[in-house]
Symmetry: D2
Subunit: 357 residues, 4 copies
């Protein structure tokens, strides 16, 4: 486990925020598939900070160098390795957290786990920056899935108390998918952007942060895929999506809301559509029955906690002096990672699904 995921298509992620580079090795990709690297970089730009007034000012080129696995524009079948150099790392910013773990960060848990040997600068291996690797891997997988008719899209379901229009669970149209796949602040209802940005700004002005929910839909994935019990759609997607730092919950279909319903309301009735295809009229099951795909869209929502990095003073402990202390994290921080998490969660789902085909 650790920073390795997958069975058929295995990704192994490495790197620390302030080390020389981060990167990912993807083992098991099918030879012969053409990969549009420009499109991969476009997906990576959706995650990258900067270019957006509400995100962290650290500019990252995030331009991966491909070390192996692609010849020309085609997968060779050998493991694909991409490396992204770290530049613009301002180590000085983090000096004051060496002894005083930041609340809600991995600092304290990592300190225990690694006996204080982990590279704490910028969060080290726990930095959100590492998710660039997930987006890279996911963007490659998505091109292969797309060729098989599988589309993945996600949007900002909510930021704080502000909600976007949810996806239609029985399916969304191709135009919306394409639009969302290109957006850095992905919304079904673009009119909600202003209200959401206001919610972010309100937190930002106080040096605070705000969380949200990302909703993701997968369309065109074949029916009858998955295994019972521990090899189901939900198990595998959740195992990947919880790999995205800050995700603290996931639900499929009607999820937690469905648990409040009666069966007659939550059960999705089957019917033959005009093409003789079995479908369900509703999609409370979120595309998975008994862990196996039903042919309906796979739909899930992931809860993203507010970024732990805030400027307000917080109570914490000093691990050296063994005394309670206070901490203020200097520098500007991304007050809301939810927009950027959209592309990471899509990518995690793509990697998970590649392991089910």
């Amino acid at each position: 486990m650790g920073s390795v995921f997958g069975n058929k298509v295995k990704i192994s992620i490495f790197g620390e925020s302030h080390g020389p580079a981060i990167g990912v090795v993807i083992d098991g990709l099918p030879a012969g598939e053409k990969i549009d690297l420009d499109e991969v970089y476009r997906q990576m730009q959706r995650r990258a900070p900067g270019g957006d007034k509400t995100s962290t000012p650290r500019k990252e080129a995030d331009m991966p160098e491909i070390l192996s696995g692609i010849l020309g524009d085609t997968l060779t079948g050998a493991p694909l390795c991409a490396v992204i150099r770290n530049t613009n790392t301002r180590s000085g910013d983090y000096g004051n957290i060496l002894n005083a773990p930041r609340p809600a960060h991995s600092d304290y848990a990592a300190y225990l786990r690694y006996g204080g040997n982990n590279d704490i600068r910028g969060g080290g291996h726990f930095s959100g920056r590492l998710t660039a690797n997930i987006v890279f891997a996911g963007a490659v997988c998505r091109q292969i899935l797309k060729r098989k008719g599988v589309d993945i899209a996600a949007h900002i379901y909510s930021i704080g108390e502000v909600n976007d229009t949810p996806f239609e669970p029985t399916g969304i149209d191709a135009e919306l998918i394409e639009r969302l796949n290109g957006e850095k602040f992905a919304l079904v209802d673009r009119a909600k952007e202003e209200e959401m940005r206001s919610a972010v700004s309100a937190a930002h002005e106080k040096g605070d942060s705000i969380g949200g929910v990302v909703e993701c839909i997968v369309q065109g994935f074949p029916a009858g895929i998955g295994e019972p019990m521990f090899g189901g759609v939900e198990n595998i997607i959740s195992a990947a999506v919880f790999g995205v730092p800050a995700v603290k919950g996931i639900e499929f279909g009607s999820g937690f809301a469905g648990s409040k319903l009666w069966g007659s309301r939550n059960n999705d009735e089957f019917y033959f559509d005009e093409n003789g295809q079995v479908r369900t009229r509703t999609n409370n099951h979120g595309g998975a029955l008994g862990g196996i795909t039903s042919g309906m869209p796979i739909i899930f929502r992931a809860a993203v906690k507010p970024t732990p990095s805030i400027s307000c003073e917080q109570n914490t402990v000093d691990l050296q002096t063994k005394e309670n202390t206070k901490l203020s994290i200097k520098g500007r921080h991304d007050p809301c990672i939810v927009p950027r998490a959209v592309s990471v969660i899509e990518a995690a789902a793509a990697v998970a699904l590649m392991n089910m085909l």
Copy 2:
């Protein structure tokens, strides 16, 4: 994957509802641990139907036979295999579903997955009965964990719209843990039982079913355990808990509610307690930071969908005639599996945690 889970302690579950038997092999248990089989059976009785007016009338002895791995009362280190014979299987009940998949059941997805070769009687390998194996495995693991100071308890957080008192996230007392571990209808606030049973009865009277949420807490698990990214507490517990049929969502700590908050509200501040132990004043992180245990209780909630089996007439398809049809499932069904799911979810968590130590 499939019906196999785990890395250090691997469980392999087998059986079909109306075949000769179900069972589980547990590989990797530590030799020398004493196992109180009576206590294991007590845990299995908490899951077993019957003995409760609101559950399915099928009586199951659920008494496992141990085929290997225990000598006297001690684990030998060889794989532990337990087999539970199927008796009282009334195949006649299920004749009408062979062609007409039951809405929200695995029938249709399994039909696609297995080309119609799966044993559809009683749901076959997808039957809720298979969860007896998870409880068996979990009950064995819990005794080992208990000896290391780890306690696991769960309760019915809600059924429909009726809520129990939630767990205190920073920890519950030993007395409550012990009481809950013995209850078949586990509640923090026993006064809520009547209202919950009424909610179940209301659905039952209409031939309908109702869902709910199970909340689970793990105390005493060591701090500093877990891996970043894909080997974290959330990844491993969710991979196990989604192995429980009917679970459609999971959240850790403040989960979805936390995603609505500002960071200053959701961040858990650290302090040294009177024993010089680092703790957090709140537990919105649910015991895991960066996937690694913080030493605070691990707390999660799982959404359990309403049982798909309902007596009311439902629309479905006839896979033979290729026409839309209607289906009524005869026989009495368990209108609410949430009380029984409590013991299964605890057990799944126990198996997951044994794989992290």
Copy 3:
């Protein structure tokens, strides 16, 4: 790892020689395949002791009960579990080995590994009897492989210094395969049986045992299967075959002998055969190049050490008194397991190959 093997088709083996039963769960078999259980039992009889003057007198029915995974004669897709009851277990025979580990047995290593908690009677989980489960799993896999055109056969390559005629590395004919698949004392050259049995008897008369080599060939396995480095044919077959107790070496193609050659001699030249098929004139590579199948037969040999169980007095230690002591193992023992190992090694190869398709 432990008693679990496989990635796509996972087997989980359980049982101890003198416990209630042994058995195996096979997860991931393809639904819809018909299994001839009589043929499975025939393969198991090839391994079973008895019915042969040179093997151990313990009679084992070795008749498995199928608990799940087959309906009628067809795989349902659910895990297949087979259980074989232990009968005729004479625990009294083994009393004298509790403190004095038998040389070359697992006794001492297992004592350390399991802190003395393992069931030492009959070797417990380390008993050769457990290989019945491998034969069961392999016999099921072989029927599926056979339907895909894959044949597996093995013979006694040598016992002591007596050699059978080796397989023709570029392929053997169907008639020989069929004959060997039915033999309990499998030889290419039946005329060698007498000499081999004499070699066994010579050891047996002195209360001693003798080892040998098993050669196995796989024909019809598709070309282009396997992964570089750690996912190659050799890695996967050897990982399975070393699961057969007493195997201490394995070589593919020209193996150790090939290491003495010059490249011009050991390299296998390619040519197009009359059907336009690429083949090699020799088969020193044993069917695998870079870990990937070449389309030529996969051929390997496994070294089987002489059975450790001998009647002669041997020096050992007394773990209680901490003094050197002597040990005589009473009872009659199988002086040569090589004939029976043939079916187990074929089966292990079958399970390995099912995981590569």
Copy 4:
């Protein structure tokens, strides 16, 4: 599987001979261990071609750049990634093999496996150059093992028909281990070097190559480690060692020779040594009983086939014209990789053993 190995300490190897770089990610190394990178490079130099008149003239710096996982000289616990740039790649040399697969190389099998999309230049991902990554990973693991008292050493057991003095199976002294660990042409009996080099030269002069056997010993590895059946010492070491291209056989302890013996001769008798330690007088079991370490040295031999690359004209096929053809591989080739394989096999064993602790 593929280019990923391990369970506790996972290595993921990437790169192609003529791509930008090769490298390895090692996930799961223990934080806090100090790593002497100079010593790592020294081990890598033992494998590197050049600096020796009998090896390939391609000069490789083989100097890895560490991208993550080490801060100063200490493991941080994050995945360790090392990248080695490819320079001095003369693609022109390989033009004539694009259609005509080289006998005994992976060319043809890889062509089938990857549909002709693999990078054939220099063997692509199948190049022996990739073993530099194994040496890197092994050299890191060896330092950690060394600190736990585990020593690994190997020597050229034979080249062609010329044999070195075998290791004393019950153990070799520290001085010999240290000497061998520093040698590029590792021999117990240095006097054999001349004869071995003559054997290599004899083949080289004819444009031919020659194979050999590497013997490896592991001392100080704790007793009682390993799992029965598929998790044993032999399974795990062989699964790693067959990851070294050109290895076609492996045997533990007395191996194939032992299979010719009687039990009374092959069984290793136990005794208490002067320190009250249980040992065996001989070590035919090679340190593993029932897959579990006995405390005696682990000893194995691996058969290394003669390098397929030879200058002599060979018959092969033209995959384009579908006709038989002839092939001469130009350029100078390493006529004997056995000396260099010593360090790779040691390293593979080290990685395997790190996964057993």
